[in-house]
Symmetry: none
Subunit: 360 residues, 3 copies
């Protein structure tokens, strides 16, 4: 298990000093991509080690089939999915973030990584858990990024651990397939930037959109955007929507599961749009859409857009949650989305209460 450590800087935070959720999501994904890429490339070592007749590597498929062409095949792990993530406590400028990652399950072609984020106040020595996230990566060949590569297995502490992992794998697979089908039907919202004429607290008043030209630093290991970069942009738009709605200091409270169906190439333009879908007394739900524009002339394929729901809360100076002005829905679609958001909100609340009871 390896840990990314980084001091939170002014640019990582809003002006109240709370670190952006997107900064944390980006660090989480960086830890994930390092551990899973490293694991997937252990392939060869395993092969050679297994010659000694020792250890786990006997189980490696490449050992038995010596013609296995993948021995030399270098690969990179690419983010396929992030499970729902809660932000338990806001981090501040000057605190040290500890992001530690562990591989907890491997299927034939994918790796599950669990990540813990701790915030440490190095002046007081106090450390607290701020996030726990689960990410799924697939391994792609370096020579041919359209080719999915086999992943070496890990050893489990017990057969139960493996069985639990398999169940998580099946569940996310189902959700991924379902989302992919749904996202093909998505019509991206037209975001009108002329907010001046809109009425406060309506959907149109706070909706926002940004574009980002994918640069080299967004793509460290290959020529595709790292998932964490996309998530950071998504959180940025969601945060602006939330701040425009309530005009107070806001922080990310949670992010629903996000599926990545499409690789985004260097030089593309990403459009990220957000609109508010639901407000409870103390929270706002923002739907975020990602669309990719392959600027440099590549024929535009039907893109599976990335979408996700971000939940934000507003905090006063003591960190207490403030009441949120209710969203004014105007069209039929807005009213329907509000009701759907309410259902998600109540489900999450019920699950949390069930979890709390189980913990007792």
């Amino acid at each position: 298990m390896k840990t990314i450590i980084r001091i939170m800087r002014p640019d990582d935070a809003n002006i109240a000093g709370n670190v952006h959720g997107g900064t944390i999501l980006k660090m989480i994904e960086e830890a994930g991509v390092i551990i899973s890429t490293r694991h997937c490339n252990r392939q060869n070592e395993f092969t050679s080690e297994s010659k000694t007749g020792f250890s786990d590597w006997l189980q490696h498929p490449c050992y038995h089939l010596c013609s296995c062409s993948t021995a030399e095949e270098r690969c990179v792990a690419v983010l396929a999915r992030v499970e729902r993530t809660d932000f338990l406590s806001p981090m501040s400028i000057g605190e040290v973030a500890h992001v530690s990652a562990e591989i907890t399950y491997t299927s034939k072609h994918s790796v599950e990584v669990q990540v813990n984020v701790m915030a440490e106040n190095i002046l007081t020595g106090v450390k607290r858990l701020t996030n726990r996230a689960t990410l799924w990566y697939v391994a792609l060949s370096m020579e041919n990024v359209n080719k999915v590569v086999e992943v070496p297995h890990i050893q489990y502490g017990s057969p139960e651990d493996q069985e639990e992992g398999r169940k998580r794998y099946e569940a996310q697979k189902l959700d991924r397939i379902e989302t992919k089908q749904r996202s093909e039907d998505i019509i991206l919202p037209a975001i009108n930037v002329d907010r001046q004429r809109k009425e406060p607290y309506t959907v149109g008043y706070s909706q926002s959109s940004l574009i980002h030209l994918v640069g080299p630093s967004d793509c460290a290991l290959h020529n595709f955007v790292q998932g964490g970069v996309t998530m950071k942009l998504m959180d940025e738009v969601a945060g602006i929507v939330a701040a425009r709605h309530c005009k107070t200091n806001i922080v990310t409270a949670s992010v629903d599961a996000i599926n990545f169906h499409q690789k985004i190439e260097k030089g593309s333009v990403i459009t990220v749009s957000g609109r508010m879908t639901f407000t409870s007394n103390r929270s706002m739900e923002i739907e975020v859409f990602v669309d990719v524009d392959h600027v440099l002339g590549r024929p535009k394929e039907k893109a599976s857009a990335v979408t996700a729901f971000f939940t934000y809360v507003s905090l006063d100076k003591e960190g207490k949650a403030l009441p949120i002005p209710m969203l004014k829905t105007q069209t039929e679609d807005e009213k329907r989305r509000f009701e759907e958001g309410k259902t998600r909100y109540l489900n999450t609340k019920a699950k949390r209460m069930a979890g709390a009871q189980k913990d007792q």
Copy 2:
């Protein structure tokens, strides 16, 4: 005259390796703000020096008479205007940029700074001029950023130099006043992000918009965005509009004069929108709008929007200008703007030819 030197990195450039015009504009403005802030704080020293004819610290009146009221008044230079700037030759990753600034004129409240940018290939030793820019700064009090402070005078090489400077000062002042009045009438364009349904080569197809949350590092010397940061964002949007239109490698060729009428505070959200107005055989003109949203609840005053025209060209691998697909105008407004762009294009061309003849 002082020089900023920096190696151009992958993040400063597009994927063809050409440094973004915005990166260069930001460096130009950083050089300008340093030299003019330094100059404006020489107030007392300079004033006293010019009175006594001695350049010694001991001669400073405040050194002896501590009641001098301006002695304690520190000020910062804030960008008010950038004159039209041509990008003579694209810079590349790995080259070293040399940005040198010089104060060439001072009025009662403003400073004119002329900046030269050279690109040096440190491998071949070849150095070439890539830009020449003229910036106007005003000095604001550190204690009260709404108070304009008097600027110490510079010494001119000759009375003609001073007279030439005065003419430039009057010309830019007129243009500033005129633009300010015009910009108060500007209705920001509604940018529809649902490009998929637009026809290629129309205005709607390539128009783009981004939002940026102003962070601490955008504001190093005070709590307001540095002009260079805004210009970098403007160039970013213009570049995306240009690339979407012609789908080839594009570079900034020139920027028309930009006036800054409004301070943008830390924590604000900047919306930058761009739309194509005109195409010639080998160039594209993009109009860029900046709008500020004081997210954190401050009552929104009538903002004077910043607007500017960026001209882009498209280059092939040998750096030769490629033909540009003609812009398809659809509405009456679009046709009118196309004609206005054509006038600007022909005027610039005529001036350049007149200049070339004069040089001969």
Copy 3:
């Protein structure tokens, strides 16, 4: 001699507003790499000039004899060593750093660069020296980065200057060889991130480790990390160790000589670990280790680890040094390292006093 100038921004500094030593080390190295790469590519011109006594391009041998093999051989300077560096005075946000570099000695394959750093408060006009550093670069061929290239000679002011330079060259060479042998025996410390159970003021309590994925902008001139990037990461870890130990505002006071024995490729993961070795009444010494992990599966060669000692002090709001809690050593190794640190501390103190006496 050329100068890099840059405004210090919030992200360059800690929360007390003091610029990180690592930011300064990175700027120093950027100045060094520019001047030495430029010099090494003047090879032919300089060689011919010094022979003929003419500084004209026409005299260049390659101008006439196109077969000259080295004429086309471009090279880049790569950091091999930084001598011990003292931070004389902390820099603040909003100040302007001036980093000027000069080549002071050349051996057959290496270049010595001396760098001065001044901090300028552009509001008060006060300028002060904050650092003086000496760096050694070797020139590597652009075509084959494993090939060391010959370096053109410089002209010395006097034979004494050259002789002094030669002595510095021999001294650093000895130290480099010795360190390289030592570093091959180094066993990287296992950094246990579970600090909560550790007792305050022990070595285990403050030791820290970070990982960094090498991105394109860490490597501007070639595909290898610039030395300045590595030094910045080292300072970051050392600063975290120091802050954890004394829980007050800390700043870098000095860095011992650092030798770079290994090139670090783009896409690698760097692990930087730090542990406290010694405390005096007013200072802390932290040992920092750099280890490289070629994530993308390259068979791991036995790496010569980079190690260095950083000294930190703690400052109160007036910039006065605070007392440091004594380090609690527990194991035999920790006690031995403490004694070694004490020896280094006393040696440095003695040298400084000797220097001060000489200056009088």
